[in-house]
């Protein structure tokens, strides 16, 4: 992107329950006045499918009456909650943002939505008590791997200090080549 073209920074902030505040707080100081912000929430469709599947497993029970199908109730609640979460996020951000509520396979939807963005802000999830390969959840891992733009990965709470680096192993696994005498 050159200076003569559109210089607006387009930022996509991916919000997930439990960690969304961290994303907003991290994005807030970085944003220039004219940045275009999209707040994205993706409801995983598996949840609805799990509820519908459990009902299908009850052979012979017929179909619950109107408004009583668990998957339908979940779908309605899910839409309401997504809207509320996005509204709360916009309020926390303290400025206008485009709100986008989507549904589907979360990581795929996020990568698709990041098409054309200049920055994607996402929170780390995964098991943060043991830092290592599993400290990034599968969805975040997928997004980090496939995102078509730079990703700002945010600690949802306190970032660990440098003391979280484990001590080096006591002995090197392979002894290096013998040191050459200086010429």
């Amino acid at each position: 992107m050159t200076a003569t073209m559109d210089t607006t920074l387009r930022v996509l902030v991916w919000l997930v329950e439990g960690t969304w505040q961290g994303c907003i707080d991290a994005a807030k100081p970085l944003l220039t006045q004219d940045a275009q912000i999209t707040l994205l929430h993706v409801a995983p469709t598996e949840v609805e499918e799990a509820a519908a599947g459990a009902l299908a497993g009850l052979l012979g029970r017929g179909r619950p009456g109107p408004g009583r199908h668990p998957a339908e109730r979940i779908s309605v609640l899910s839409a309401q909650e997504a809207a509320e979460l996005l509204a709360a996020a916009e309020a926390r951000l303290g400025r206008h943002a485009h709100r986008q509520a989507a549904g589907g396979r979360v990581e795929r939807v996020v990568v698709q939505a990041a098409q054309g963005a200049d920055l994607l802000v996402a929170a780390r999830d995964g098991d943060r008590s043991r830092l290592g390969p599993a400290s990034l959840g599968p969805a975040t891992r997928f997004v980090v791997d496939h995102a078509p733009c730079p990703v700002l990965l945010v600690w949802p709470d306190q970032a660990p200090g440098v003391e979280s680096i484990p001590p080096p192993p006591p002995h090197p696994p392979h002894p290096g080549p013998p040191a050459r005498p200086p010429p």
Binding site: A51, L58, G126, D127
Partner: protein, 444 residues
């Protein structure tokens, strides 16, 4: 007409039917009868899984049962015998379904959601623990139907209210609906059927199944806690307990008394179905008076179509069993009460439940299991109750049908479900069966 002459008439009619059937099926009567019986069962189950145009399952099951008798595959007296044996079980089932529905109307599930929300204080692992406690209790006391239909949406709403990711909690509900349904005869229709066939008392059933129930729940906890570790992160909102709208005390009291009544009834040899009916009545009368429910609502909760389906399925499976498959099941099902035979019984039951569904599976297995003793019956229950978690829809047949319906979009999600089932089911079967074996040895 006197009872004796009625019997005679029945006997005569039966004999005539059978001789007619012999004439019709002359040549290869057994093989043909067996094939037709299996076809009728397959048609009944296929209809129940596919449910063309949303028609009730009984629409195919009742004609199939009638055909089974009309073709002479199942003698009239055997069909009546089967219906007579199922009758009290269906009554029991109806009472439990009404009880769960009325508890919902009294606000029990909403109150449970409130409590879970405030007690978890926004911590996802704490919420999962509470969902396990409530899910296991609701499944055990009010049956798996209550967990799937009534509790799951409440748990979802609770997670959303706390702004926590709902997936682990909803999956926990769907898994516990199956694996936490081992404890009481009322927890699952399969248990009710087995309870009748096993000659165990209500209290005996419950004490024997306590440890297997706990073992199955423990396995679910260990697996789900690890499997969903990436989603059990962050901190949700803290919700305080609102002053108004606490737990519906009357409903809780009736439920508690009903549970105590189940235990006492087995001491005085009173049918526990009567206790369940009394509990349902105790909730129904004030609800009807206070116009919180109409008679039509209770009628819908009873689910006459469902009861008709179960009765007809019982007759169809009896026909299949008598036509020859019963002997095969006899041979397949290991007898004895050693740990290995119990494990084998549970495994056979789990496989059968996964091929079709656990309802026809338990009906098919029960005659052979009951002959082998209560240990085998309970091992069958471990298999048919935990087994369905392998496929999240209860059976391969249903899974395949759902995949036909929506080929593309559900596929990756299905992989996740199957992975979770593959982790919990074998371990759950093993742990619960070992616990059952222990209880059978320890209890006098």
């Amino acid at each position: 007409m006197s009872r004796a002459s009625f019997r005679e008439l029945l006997g005569y009619w039966d004999e005539r039917r059978r001789s007619q059937a012999r004439d019709r099926l002359a040549g290869v009567p057994n093989a043909l009868a067996e094939t037709i019986a299996l076809l009728l069962l397959a048609a009944t189950l296929a209809f129940a899984v596919i449910r063309p145009r949303g028609l009730p399952e009984a629409v195919a099951a009742v004609p199939a049962a009638l055909l089974m008798v009309a073709l002479g595959i199942l003698p009239v007296h055997a069909a009546l015998d089967e219906l007579g044996a199922l009758g009290p079980t269906l009554g029991f089932l109806a009472a439990v379904l009404v009880l769960a529905e009325l508890c919902e109307r009294e606000g029990l599930f909403a109150a449970a959601g409130q409590r879970m929300a405030s007690a978890s204080r926004g911590r996802p692992v704490a919420l999962l623990g509470l969902v396990f406690v409530v899910g296991a209790a609701v499944t055990a006391v009010l049956s798996l139907d209550a967990t799937v239909v009534l509790l799951t949406p409440v748990v979802f709403a609770t997670a959303l209210r706390l702004r926590l990711r709902p997936k682990p909690h909803v999956y926990a509900c769907t898994h516990l609906a199956n694996s936490a349904s081992l404890l009481l005869p009322v927890s699952n229709l399969t248990n009710l059927l087995a309870f009748r066939a096993s000659s165990l008392s209500f209290a005996r059933f419950a004490t024997t199944m306590t440890l297997p129930w706990l073992a199955a729940i423990a396995v679910e906890w260990l697996v789900l806690r690890r499997f969903f570790a990436p989603d059990l992160v962050g901190r949700g909102e803290v919700v305080t307990q609102p002053k108004a709208g606490g737990a519906p005390r009357y409903a809780v009291a009736v439920l508690t008394l009903t549970l105590v009544g189940f235990g006492l009834a087995s001491l005085v040899h009173l049918d526990p179905a009567v206790v369940a009916a009394a509990g349902a009545l105790a909730l129904a009368v004030p609800a009807l008076r206070g116009r919180r429910a109409r008679l039509a609502d209770l009628g819908r909760a009873v689910g006459l179509g469902f009861l008709a389906f179960v009765a007809a399925l019982g007759v169809v499976v009896r026909g299949v069993s008598d036509a020859g498959l019963g002997r095969l099941v006899d041979r397949l099902l290991p007898a004895g009460s050693s740990l290995w035979s119990l494990l084998a019984v549970a495994a056979v039951a789990a496989v059968l439940a996964n091929l079709v569904n656990n309802l026809p599976a338990i009906l098919l297995l029960l005659p052979a299991a009951a002959a082998a003793g209560p240990g085998s019956v309970l091992a069958c229950l471990v298999g048919v109750n935990i087994g369905p978690n392998l496929t999240y829809v209860g059976s391969l047949a249903t899974l395949l049908w759902r995949r036909v319906l929506r080929e593309r979009d559900a596929e990756p999600a299905v992989a996740e479900f199957l992975q979770l089932g593959g982790l919990t089911v074998p371990a759950g079967l093993l742990a619960a069966t070992a616990a059952l074996w222990l209880m059978l040895r320890v209890l006098p």
